[in-house]
């Protein structure tokens, strides 16, 4: 005999500790006398800290003043943000000539323009977009920032980058609006819409070559005013050094990691030695070596650009760390994957590029982004060797006569800036992880 009810029974109210705030608090914060005491104590400590910072940084703070003495006269115990805001241009752009600052902003805008299509659906050729960002954009930006006489090499690279940015933007627009690629569009317009793919590719390349010639002629007509690297500084310099470091660390790391796992003894030994050498010295030592020792080995009178030395040092150093991260990812891929790839006839590069590396890199995203953030923060070491990166600028405020002794506020501001940048990177890496759906979702 079965007991059957016709109507569903009335649902019971949820447990009190999940329905109301008070219930939740009783359950989680005041479940025992000890927990109650701890809760009250912790709340009190949090209150003290937050209210102290709040009163110092906001309530008592002075936002407009000409000198630190004026801040003291208004309120002796508040933060003096006026000093930070007076130095804002130095903090962001360093000693870059004020009337040329638009070049930095424009360079940053170009980077966004270049990379934005990577996040857009329906855009074709994302691999090429990514590659050109790494190999063409730096030359255009580099020339934009430093200016001066281009020379043949720079002329060619700048023209190529101009063609790249225009083609990239058109391609993205066409992709989003009409769901087609630029190559396809050009071929249709020129009447090769039904030609075989190979021919279409050729037509598109010729089209790009024509654009290149036009760009070359156009760019030879103007020249940006020269800005010495000694005037670069602030957040701009930090981003230049860490940006180049980040862009080169991954490819360099992949090559070194593959070299270390290579079956060829010479390559293996060289890669291992290189990695171990750079990993076992502190970054500051590498920087000092690059700036003091290196010039001694140069011919008489040759003075190398200190910024270039620093960038090379940062790149080498971080490639080594990245190599070990990548190698850890490679170790995690079961041997069966490579063997499977061999059975379907893939060679070494095919196996690595199509089967092993994509899986390994996907697994290593948290680590890779972690070392990128480390790299960004490590670059502040260059302030020790006399470059005015963001930390150097922040520390200089306390030496400027009108703001003498103002050192807490700039550092708090710097901490907030770094938090924003690093948190954004971290969020983006979580987004990438979710998109590539690695890991085991709970």
């Amino acid at each position: 005999m079965a007991i059957v009810t016709i109507s569903t029974s009335n649902s019971r109210p949820p447990p009190i500790n999940e329905a109301t705030l008070i219930g939740w608090m009783r359950m989680h914060l005041f479940s025992s006398p000890l927990n109650s005491i701890l809760t009250i104590l912790t709340t009190y400590i949090i209150y003290l800290t937050v209210s102290g910072v709040w009163v110092w940084g906001v309530v008592d703070a002075i936002w407009i003043a000409d000198t630190r003495r004026e801040c003291f006269d208004i309120n002796i115990s508040g933060a003096c943000w006026a000093g930070v805001s007076a130095w804002m241009e130095n903090i962001f752009y360093g000693r870059y000539p004020r009337e040329e600052i638009w070049r930095i902003d424009f360079g940053l805008f170009l980077l966004f323009l270049w990379m934005a299509p990577l996040w857009m659906p329906r855009v074709r050729g994302k691999v090429i977009i990514g590659m050109t960002t790494v190999f063409l954009y730096p030359f255009l930006a580099g020339y934009l920032f430093s200016g001066g006489d281009k020379g043949i090499f720079m002329s060619v690279m700048v023209s190529a980058a101009i063609v790249g940015i225009i083609a990239n933007t058109l391609n993205a627009t066409l992709g989003v609006l009409a769901d087609r690629s630029l190559s396809n569009f050009v071929n249709n317009k020129l009447g090769f819409g039904n030609a075989p793919e190979e021919k279409q590719q050729k037509v598109f390349l010729i089209f790009l070559a024509v654009c290149f010639v036009l760009a070359y002629i156009w760019q030879s007509g103007w020249q940006a005013e020269i800005v010495s690297w000694t005037k670069w500084g602030g957040l701009f310099l930090t981003l230049v050094i860490s940006g180049i470091g980040i862009a080169s660390a991954l490819p360099g790391g992949i090559i070194l990691a593959m070299g270390r796992r290579s079956k060829l003894p010479v390559i293996r030994v060289l890669s291992t030695a290189f990695i171990e050498l750079f990993r076992s010295v502190p970054l500051i030592t590498v920087l000092f070596m690059a700036t003091t020792m290196f010039p001694l080995f140069m011919p008489e009178g040759v003075v190398l650009n200190k910024l270039v030395q620093v960038i090379i040092a940062v790149c080498l150093f971080n490639a080594c760390y990245m190599a070990e991260t990548v190698r850890a990812g490679l170790q995690a891929i079961p041997k069966g994957q490579a063997e499977g790839a061999h059975t379907i006839g893939l060679g070494y590069w095919g196996t690595m590029g199509l089967i092993v590396m994509p899986q390994a890199l996907k697994h290593m995203i948290p680590n890779i982004v972690g070392s990128f953030m480390g790299l960004l923060k490590d670059t502040t070491l260059v302030s020790i060797i006399g470059l005015f990166d963001i930390l150097g600028m922040l520390r200089s405020i306390s030496r400027d006569t009108p703001w003498l002794g103002l050192h807490k506020e700039p550092l708090v501001f710097g901490a907030m800036l770094f938090f924003i940048i690093c948190f954004a990177m971290s969020k983006y890496s979580r987004h990438l992880e979710a998109k590539l759906s690695t890991g085991h979702k709970v």
């Binding site: 002796i76 130095n90 000694t230 000092f288 020790i384 200089s396 306390s398």
Partner: protein, 346 residues
């Protein structure tokens, strides 16, 4: 910092071995600078009064004025100078390996530095000395009363060593609390972490002026050390040495003769004083041996000013000054009882 210190020593020794302690170049520095079109002048990381960045990214300060004076003497344009900021561990290496033409920063002229590092110190442009700051309400009026006191001091400087020497010589039993950054040192002192701070008197005067209530603190009268701060050049290039040394002398001499940036044009046109006429290039040929143009000293005074003007602007009570009184100190002119003295320019 141990590693950097070690590395600096290695680098400095390597420079000496490679260059034999003499000039890197066979060509004279003056010719190289003229050919390059600008002067490379080394200062340190910003230090109040001597070399600072302002909010627009320009350098200013007493030592920066020396850089600009040399550039004015050579090019007739005080802006043809690239200011290099080099950390103090690397300062002598950067001069020795030719990165800088001239070192114009708070480097104390000592015998061992002058003789062992392959460089020549020139006329000091500031005489400093170490002293103590204490709170006024502590009732201390002399450094000899600091028995058993906790004193805040910057680490890795001669200040720290001088303090230990002074404590031992006077049996004071001072315990030193060391810091890397003067801001943290002062913050600790202000919050009661030590009874006194010690440092060069000039920089302490500047820091003290920036305390919330400056009148609560005093600098004690005792001076522990002699710190003649002088520009330096590479050893073995006499012509370049002369150019830099006489650029500094020209500023001092101009003050003595009463020539300033505001009246220099008038003086050149109308002065009957033969010393003034000779210095400004109206008479004689002082520029011959220096390898400069006839109006080199005129350019210095016109574009940078005399020593007194620069002292007032950056060390004294000018808008960007850190408020150190000049009268009665070693930095007054010799005619006022100080040590600022230029050999005759004739």
């Amino acid at each position: 910092m141990k590693i950097t210190t070690l590395l600096t020593s290695v680098a400095a020794v390597a420079v000496m071995v490679l260059t034999g302690g003499t000039s890197v170049y066979a060509e004279s520095t003056l010719d190289i600078v003229k050919k390059r079109g600008h002067l490379r002048c080394q200062v340190g990381q910003p230090s109040p009064g001597y070399y600072n960045l302002d909010a627009d990214g320009n350098w200013y300060g007493l030592d920066v004025a020396t850089c600009r004076a040399v550039a004015a003497a050579i090019f007739g344009d005080a802006n043809k100078v690239e200011i290099q900021s080099v950390s103090s561990q690397m300062r002598f290496t950067a001069l020795a390996n030719g990165e800088s033409d001239l070192l114009s920063r708070t480097a104390t002229w000592t015998l061992s530095r002058d003789t062992q590092l392959g460089l020549d110190f020139l006329q000091p442009n500031f005489y400093d000395g170490q002293g103590f700051t204490v709170r006024k309400d502590s009732g201390i009026t002399s450094a000899l009363q600091l028995k058993g006191a906790k004193v805040c001091v910057l680490t890795g400087t001669t200040t720290e060593l001088n303090l230990a020497d002074y404590s031992r010589a006077n049996n004071l039993n001072i315990s030193a609390v060391t810091f890397e950054d003067f801001n943290v040192r002062d913050e600790t002192y202000l919050n009661g972490g030590c009874d006194s701070t010690t440092g060069d008197k000039s920089s302490m005067a500047g820091n003290l002026a920036a305390f919330p209530v400056p009148s609560d603190h005093i600098i004690l009268p005792e001076t522990l050390s002699k710190e003649p701060l002088a520009p330096a050049v590479r050893h073995g290039d006499s012509q370049w040495r002369d150019v830099v040394a006489w650029s500094v002398f020209a500023m001092i001499n101009a003050e003595e003769l009463g020539i300033s940036s505001s009246n220099v044009d008038d003086m050149r046109a109308n002065s009957d004083n033969v010393s003034v006429r000779r210095m400004l290039g109206v008479e004689g040929n002082l520029e011959k041996g220096l390898g400069l143009s006839k109006d080199w000293a005129y350019n210095i005074i016109k574009l940078v000013g005399n020593y007194g003007e620069n002292y007032e602007a950056y060390m004294g009570h000018g808008k960007l000054g850190i408020g150190i009184d000049r009268a009665g100190s070693a930095n007054a002119l010799w005619t006022n009882g100080g040590l600022m003295y230029s050999p005759p320019m004739r």
